[in-house]
């Protein structure tokens, strides 16, 4: 199973050499020294994944390996293909080339263990909250409503079970969407910028909620986000998609629960942010800790949103 080993561009990560895009990058599986988690999550392996829209190539020869129970964040500029990668894994789109393997097996067998959260909650407005959470549950499997209520309780909305979605706030709707995904006990949870439309405070609460539910259920989580801070706060690994490739695989080994004031948090975040914005490290002079990086000095300003 572990047949994909290519070297890691560690030099780029240490900040000593100028980071550059280009070399084919294969994300490594986690080191064996990590504390083992109970294997509840799905394993994902992609090989040679490519996708183009017309003439525009979005992903080319992407090779990934994600261990069970890992929380992986995917960051990158807008249009870099991170959402496309997620949708390919979710099965919403078909790849032009390459394959995706779950748990070493074929794809289709696992489609009911994969759940997706979108940027908007996408609740059915004509069903009450409880019925929305119960969407897709097999009634023959029994006690559908109890399971839905239980999932709602986990996200803290048990008292809103009989409301229409139209009366909920944006954060509450996303929580219902999260409950809807969790009620199926997925082994892989895919999150496509789910917190992008929320205000800052709700976003922080939702991050904590997602983290606690992930720690409780131990599914594999794949989070696409434009917010590098969110990626560092939640993920074990942060992948950067750039130039149709995985250009960075940064392991975040900070203790949970994480906070922005934690030692090492800012360093990780700044490093990844620099990489995303392609700040050249030609000026290799050591900076004072806490000095803000002069983002505006870069001559090539590209949009990251």
């Amino acid at each position: 199973m572990m047949s994909y080993e290519l070297e890691l561009e560690n030099a780029a990560l240490s900040g000593l050499a100028a980071p550059h895009a280009g070399p084919r990058f294969v994300a490594k599986a986690p080191a064996p020294s990590e504390t083992p988690r109970p294997a509840n999550g799905a394993t994902i392996r992609t090989e040679g994944l490519s996708k183009s829209y017309g003439e525009r190539a979005v992903l080319h020869d992407v090779n990934l390996q994600i261990a069970p129970g890992e929380f992986v964040a995917i960051v990158g500029r807008s249009g870099c293909g991170k959402s496309t990668l997620l949708r390919l894994i979710a099965g919403l789109e078909r790849a032009d080339a390459g394959a995706i393997h779950f748990d070493g097996g074929a794809r289709a067998a696992h489609s009911d263990e994969i759940r997706l959260m979108f940027q908007d909650a996408r609740l059915l407005p004509w069903k009450r909250v409880l019925d929305n959470v119960a969407l897709g549950l097999d009634p023959k499997a029994g006690n559908v409503r109890e399971r839905a209520r239980d999932a709602l309780a986990q996200v803290g909305l048990a008292d809103r079970a009989d409301d229409w979605p139209a009366v909920l706030s944006g954060g509450q709707r996303q929580r219902v969407a999260l409950a809807r995904a969790l009620v199926h006990a997925p082994r892989l949870l895919l999150l496509d910028e789910p917190l992008g439309a929320l205000d800052a405070l709700t976003r922080i609460e939702m991050q904590r909620l997602i983290e606690s539910l992930w720690q409780r259920h131990r599914f594999t989580a794949l989070l696409v986000t434009h917010d590098v801070g969110e990626a560092v706060a939640l993920a074990d690994r942060v992948l950067l998609i750039e130039s149709q490739q995985v250009a960075l695989d940064q392991r975040i080994e900070l203790a949970r629960p994480r906070s922005h004031a934690q030692v090492g948090f800012a360093r990780h975040e700044q490093r990844i942010l620099d990489r995303v914005l392609s700040q050249s490290d030609a000026d290799a002079a050591p900076r004072e800790p806490g000095a803000t990086h002069n983002v505006l000095a870069t001559p090539a300003l590209r949009w990251a949103i």
């Binding site: 919403l92 759940r115 069903k127 897709g136 139209a166």
Partner: protein
């Protein structure tokens, strides 16, 4: 919560006044009409006074004749609505859901749509004669197109994001239709139903003048022969009342089926 005059005037302003205000204009019209007839400005043959209409209404209601005519007309209207409406719903669902069906059927139906049903009356008489089937055909035709077009549009404009989400949750085929597509198209379908209910009465009125043995149109035509203008007005009044009833029915349907919709929720709260 004391029963002071302040709270009484509150109730008056919040509940009774909005209920009475829409009736203000008709009452004024009726009053001026009555006065004009009393003072002889309005000849009896042109327009009888409202009181005469009420008396004629009462006589007809007591004799049971009116109810028979109302029943016949209502039956014609409802059966035409059922026939045309269900056909339109089925075809709308078909062309809305399947591109192949749209390609085959839609342009033909759009061409037919522009033919006013009432212009077909001579043809209808040739095809169906002057019995019930002619009236049924005309009403069905009039009812068909609003429901068809709105159903088609409703199905097409269901939020694609919701369909994608539902597919990712394993819904497909009939469950997808039942839980996502049909409820999503329902607001548009109900608009079509509202329109059709309005057309239903209009077409029926004319269809009943073709030739009939019973029905409100027959009663009105008969009265015209005998210069009973008050009975003619009773017939018109009945059509108006039945139309209003149909509208109330469709509003009630909307209120019940669309109670999840934010637009209808605020209306319900204000009511």
């Amino acid at each position: 919560m004391s029963a002071t005059s302040a709270s009484r005037s509150e109730r008056w302003r919040s509940r009774l006044l909005p209920a009475l205000l829409p009736a203000l204009l008709p009452i004024l019209i009726l009053a001026s009409w009555e006065l004009a007839s009393r003072f002889g400005w309005l000849s009896n043959r042109v327009l009888p006074e409202p009181w005469a209409v009420v008396k004629a209404f009462w006589v007809l209601a007591l004799s049971g004749e009116m109810w028979q005519h109302v029943a016949t007309s209502t039956w014609r209207a409802l059966s035409g609505f059922a026939l045309g409406g269900s056909l339109a719903l089925a075809l709308g669902l078909l062309t809305g859901s399947l591109r192949s069906a749209e390609t085959l059927l839609d342009s033909t139906l759009q061409m037919l749509r522009n033919i006013p049903p009432l212009a077909l009356i001579p043809l209808v008489i040739l095809w169906f004669g002057i019995d019930e089937s002619a009236k049924l055909f005309l009403v069905s035709l009039g009812v068909f197109f609003p429901i068809y077009i709105n159903t088609f549009h409703g199905i097409r404009s269901v939020d694609k994001g919701l369909i994608e989400m539902a597919r990712s949750y394993g819904l497909a085929g009939w469950p997808l239709y039942r839980h996502v597509i049909l409820p999503g198209a329902l607001p548009a379908i109900l608009v079509g139903v509202r329109f059709s209910l309005g057309f239903m009465w209009v077409i029926l009125i004319v269809a009943e003048t073709i030739s009939a043995q019973a029905g409100i149109g027959y009663m009105t035509m008969n009265a015209r022969e005998f210069l009973q203008t008050d009975v003619v007005l009773v017939g018109i009044l009945l059509y108006a009342l039945l139309g209003k009833l149909a509208d109330l029915l469709s509003k009630g349907l909307e209120r019940w089926w669309l109670r999840w919709h934010p637009g209808y929720q605020s209306a319900a709260k204000a009511a």
